[in-house]
Each structure stands twice: as C-alpha cells, then as structure tokens.
Symmetry: C2
Subunit: 233 residues, 2 copies
Amino acid sequence: MATRGLSVTNKLREAVLGGDYAGGTRLNEVDLADALAVSRTPIRAALSTLAAEGLLEYRPNSGYAVKTFAAKDIEGIYVVRANLEGLCARLVGQQGLSDVHRGLLHKVLAESEELQNVESWTDEVSDLWRDLNDRFHNTLIEASGNAHLAMMLRKSRAIPLLNQLKFRWFDLETLARAHDDHSQIFAAITGGQVVRAESIAEEHVYRSGQRIIEHWRKMDSRKPAAGTKARAA
Amino acid sequence: MATRGLSVTNKLREAVLGGDYAGGTRLNEVDLADALAVSRTPIRAALSTLAAEGLLEYRPNSGYAVKTFAAKDIEGIYVVRANLEGLCARLVGQQGLSDVHRGLLHKVLAESEELQNVESWTDEVSDLWRDLNDRFHNTLIEASGNAHLAMMLRKSRAIPLLNQLKFRWFDLETLARAHDDHSQIFAAITGGQVVRAESIAEEHVYRSGQRIIEHWRKMDSRKPAAGTKARAA
DNA sequence: CAGCGCCTCTTTGTATGCAATCCAGGCAAT
DNA sequence: ATTGCCTGGATTGCATACAAAGAGGCGCTG
C-alpha cells in the first residue's frame, strides 16, 4: 500500500463493510487517528473517500457517520443490481466468452457442483460458496468488458454487513437453486440465448434480494438504530 | 456553502464537467490553492472527492489528473444508462405517479411542445431544451423513489463536456423525435403500460447515446490526448 | 418551575512546515 | 549512441497548531 491515506481507507472500508460499526455510528477523527497510529490528515482523506463511495454520511462541521441501510434501501439497491446483472449477462452473451473466461466459469461451476454433496449448511460451506459465488459474478462482470458497469455493480454490492450475513441465511435447497441458476446462465450465454441469459440473471439476483430483504426486515425491527460513539478497529 | 472544502469541490466539479480542463490534465495542488485563494487542505479534500466520483484519476505520490473519456467509454456508460433509465420508467409505471410529479411532467411536455415551433436550432433553443430534458428525466428519477438508482444515474450522466456538447449536436428533427419519445413515455406510464414505458425509455436513451458516440469519435480522432499542465479556474 | 441565552468544551475545518517521493536532465561508462 | 546512475527541483504526503463552528450544560430571568 503506497500511502498511509490509502492504507487507512482500505482498513476502514473493510471495517465498515464488515459491520464493525453499527449503522449511525459517528466516526471521531481523533479516536481513529489514535487507533490507527496516524495523524488526522490521512484519516480525513479516508473518510472523505468512503463518504463519496456511499458508505458514510457527511455533515459539515459535524463529521462522518456510518450510513444506515433500512430494508427499503436494500430493496431499492437490489432492484438496480438485478437489472445491472441482467444487463451484464446480456452483454456477455452478445459478445461471447473468451477462452479464459469460459475456463474460469467452467471451473467455478465444477467446484460448485462438487459443493452440492455436502450434507448440511455449515459456516465453512457458507464461506466456500461465497467465494464461488463471487468468482462467478466477478468473472461475468470482467467478461462484459464494461468498466462503468463494473463500477456500478461494485457499488451495488458494497453494503455493510451484507456479505457477512447473506450466505449465513442460506440452506442446501437455496444453494442448489443458486447453483442451477449459475449453470443456466452459463449455458444460455454459451448457447447464444442472450435474452434468456438476461432474464435468468436478473431473476437470480432479484430472488436472492427478496430473501435478504426478508431477513433484513427482521433485523431492522430488532434494532432501535444508533447514535453511539465509535470504538476503534 | 458551509465549508471551503465543499465550496471548492463544487467549483472544481463544475469546471471539470464544463470541460475547462482537457482530459489528462494534471491538477497541481499549489496552483489550484493559489487560484482559489485557499490553502492546499481544502483543495486536497476536493480532489479526493472528485476522484471518488470518477471525474479524476489518482496516482499515489503523483497527484490527480482529469479522467479522459474515449468513445468506447461513452459507449459503455450509455449502455448502462439506457438500461437504468428503462428501469426507472418501469418503476414509475409500476407504482404510479403522484399528482405533483404528474403535474411537473405535464408542464415539461407542454413547454416542450411549444418549443417545437422554433424555426432553427440555435444555441438558445439548445439551452432551453437541455433544461426541459433535464427536468423530464430528473422528475422521473425522483418519482421512482429509488435513491440508489438516482445516484447511479447521476454518476452515469456526469461526464466532462458532454452536457455542454450534447445538445449542440441536435437538430430540429432530433428534437421532435426526442419530444415524441418523452410524450410516449409519459403516456405509457399514465396508461399503465409498464413494459412499453421501459422499452421506449431505454431505446430513447440508447439512441441519444448512439448520436453522441458518433460525434465523440470524431472529436477523439482530432485530439492527440493530453499531458498538459493545468491553468486555474 | 419553565424558558431563554450565554459560555464552555468538544469536534471539525484550515493553514503551514517539513519529510518523502518522483521525475527530468545531465553525466559517465560501456 | 545507448544505457544506467545520480542529483536537484518540483510536488505530494503527513503531522501539527490554531481557528471556528456546534452541542450541551448552567445560570439567569420571568
């Protein structure tokens, strides 16, 4: 990592995305500086960056706070994301897969297939599947060759806590269904069924969103939301 | 404007979007500080923000440079934007228009209708139409009630020079067509024809993108791209 | 006792000095 | 002539001191 500013940015981003700070938590510059053993300058740079990324909220003369995502926000984000992933599949279908990307996807699907043999949904399985799922979607995005789309999708996937929780809420049946969706998307793309690829991809993400929103809603109702002060990373 | 940092950010953003700096121009902190009569601190904050917004590129220890948009980039952005505007129309169609939004759109359409009577495509007409066009799209976005979508679309529309040039390349025929598209989108939405609203909106943006890319390509081939040093705002 | 305003303390905003890095140009050796 | 190295100038990165804005408590007044 070249500069302290960047290093701090990454650490903080990870902390926020990992859910280390409850939504609404105010991030005190001095505390963070102490905790990370740098001055306020790189801290401020990092905070400003993360705010622009949409992870923090900024109020002049009042500082930065971790953005809270209500179920309704997640819903809105997922509608967009589903649409974009659909577009992504369509683009890839239109322009075809390079040998490299086809190989990568094939490998992911093979490993996913193997994962179907597990007997129960443990945290370990959850982590394995998260990795496979990420690889599948990231490869597709890369294959689309559209940098702007990639950026949008990255933003649509960067939600605190979500990647930690998402797959804990899975079960074997859902896994099977998700894997099947992936296979079908791949088949549609290689088979030149562009519209079908788009539909399945969109529906795939949308469905996954529905499940998440449901769980998120339960969490929401349990949390009175925040206002607490930050503790260090 | 509360803080100097924010004020500088806005000024700089406007300058970059307005095309005051050629693509690739390096932005020197001291020069900017002098020009805007503040210290380097708020300048750095602004640069960092704009980089996160995607208008500038950052290289550690080397500073910020205005991002260059090649025709291919514009193409990628417009594919995404078309899709998102389509989604936007669909959402509005699904959940219906509030009286306020319906009124706003109606007003825009009425004024646009009136603009059809001009005899030639002057810069003045161009500015009027840009305003009407912005109002139409912004109202639709607002009516969708999806903050994330709004953010994505804002990002997809923030391209240096584009808003300056876009409508200079128009002509009366294109204006008529664009206005007609708007009318049809409005009609489809109020008529509950959700799918149709989406299709027209997507196609409307896509077409407009095609025109722009064509012109952009011509510009691209004339420019040897940059490396120049910045002059102040 | 309630409401208002002041005052202080906390926290953020800005300026500036110094350190670290990078880049260009020149010089020398191959 | 080309390549590699070195050095000086320019520019960014960081820390810190000081200024200013906000939030909350306290006392004063009605």
